[in-house]
């Protein structure tokens, strides 16, 4: 599965990067984020775009798995 790393990017970059990556890989995507704001924003965007999201919490980041 395609993977993108949005750590350290300010708003709205994590969502923009997700949007762009999904255009190239519409079947699904793994997104690494490093803060709650980005996690919430990306999750909301994915759900609004019709994806299911599974979130794994690690020590200093989150991985969001978006699947159709």
């Amino acid at each position: 599965m395609k993977k993108i790393d949005t750590c350290g990017m300010s708003c709205p970059q994590p969502v923009l990067m997700t949007k762009k990556a999904l255009e190239e890989s519409p079947e699904g995507l793994d997104i690494i984020v490093d803060n709650n704001t980005a996690k919430g924003n990306v999750e909301r965007f994915l759900k609004n775009s019709g994806y299911k999201v599974i979130i794994t919490e690690n020590e200093d980041n989150y991985i969001l798995e978006a699947r159709k």
Binding site: M9, C11, Q13, L16, K19, N36, T37, N48
Partner: protein, 359 residues
């Protein structure tokens, strides 16, 4: 709808608290104004000598500390920095100058409209236009590169400085400046302003309330979340103003405002564009400063310096209108934002050149 409940309540609280602050002494339509209050602090510290706008505004201190406390409590305090700090500093200066041409940050723009000041409509039109321009560059790959985790100590300094400011305000030593007339002399009691700041700071941290993010996300992603907060502030402060009899509809003789529509538009266009590049409005920058984002601290320092420049160089508008120097400054700000936007947009500048420059 349920996900928006929190931010609508927060926006409503900001609207009501803003009206209450005016009732208890703040200047009209200025319950909160991040630009005006940072400008007052710059004056209070003697960075500029405009004697009508000098005060250490406790609202600012409260906003930073409220965001700090809630972020620590929710384990969201993260010290980071290093995402083009000096570029952010310069954009901070531009955003402040734009705001002082219009006479208000995006938050006060909404509060002005809610008080019946129709000049704010030109401001909002400019603000939205500025956001559109910023979004065009976002779509061309604009970004200010990543920030990195840094030592926790770095993140604690800004909240500590704000506690220091509060001590200074209470001690009020003779080297500080406090306006005896004008907007700087109009203030709610310290304890109320501080409490209001703490509450709004906590709510804004929790809900990520951002005045520029609303329009930006609506254009980019058709996402209404942040815009609901923006609208809630407008609606609730409008109701509050009606209830307290503060509402006065019209263009002329509005409090701390001028009627020059073109420059209200252009000033807020600078603010909207600059805020998109920064990733958040002046309020959001303060909140992020409280939660350990030192790039936002640098931005706030840029705004503080911008306020000093605006008054020392005679750029800031007043009720009498816009100054000739101010008009020139707006064009310099547009040029700065244009250059910064272009050079940091990956699809406009070849990726190879950028990575070479960063090595």
């Amino acid at each position: 709808m349920s996900d928006k409940k929190g931010i609508i309540i927060a926006g409503g609280a900001v609207g009501i608290i803003s009206v209450l602050l005016v009732y208890f002494g703040n200047p009209a339509n200025m319950g909160f104004c991040i630009a005006c209050f940072l400008r007052d602090i710059a004056g209070g510290l003697g960075l500029h000598r405009a004697d009508v706008v000098q005060y250490i505004r406790p609202e600012i201190i409260g906003l930073v500390l409220g965001a700090f406390l809630i972020s620590v409590k929710n384990k969201e305090f993260q010290t980071k920095g290093g995402s083009s700090p000096f570029t952010r500093f310069m954009i901070g200066i531009a955003v402040m100058i734009g705001a002082l041409i219009f006479l208000g940050c995006p938050l006060r723009m909404v509060l002005r409209l809610a008080g019946g000041d129709l000049n704010a409509l030109f401001g909002i039109a400019g603000f939205v236009a500025g956001i559109f321009v910023g979004v065009i560059f976002l779509n061309k790959g604009f970004n200010l590169k990543r920030s990195y985790k840094i030592s926790k100590t770095e993140g604690y300094i800004f909240p500590a400085v704000n506690i220091g400011l509060l001590i200074l305000l209470i001690a009020s030593p003779s080297f500080l400046f406090f306006s005896e007339k004008g907007p700087g002399s109009m203030a709610a009691p310290i304890i109320m302003s501080l409490t209001a700041g703490l509450i709004v700071g906590g709510l804004a941290q929790k809900t990520r309330l951002c005045m520029v993010g609303g329009t930006r996300d609506m254009i980019l992603f058709k996402d209404m979340y942040l815009l609901s907060g923006f609208i809630a502030i407008l609606v609730f402060s409008f109701i509050g103003n009606l209830a307290f009899g503060f509402f006065k509809l019209g263009f002329a003789e509005q409090p701390i405002a001028h009627t020059d529509g073109l420059w209200n538009f252009l000033g807020m266009a600078v603010v909207g564009w600059g805020s998109v590049l920064l990733g958040g409005c002046p309020l959001r920058q303060l909140i992020l400063s409280g939660e350990g984002n030192t790039d936002s601290v640098i931005t706030v320092m840029g705004m503080l310096v911008g306020a000093a420049i605006a008054h020392n160089f005679g750029l800031a508008s007043s009720a009498a209108g816009v100054t000739a120097n101010g008009k020139v400054a707006v064009f310099i700000c547009f040029a700065l934002l244009g250059i910064v936007s272009f050079l940091n947009s990956e699809s406009l500048v070849k990726a190879g050149n950028l990575s070479k420059a960063s090595n």
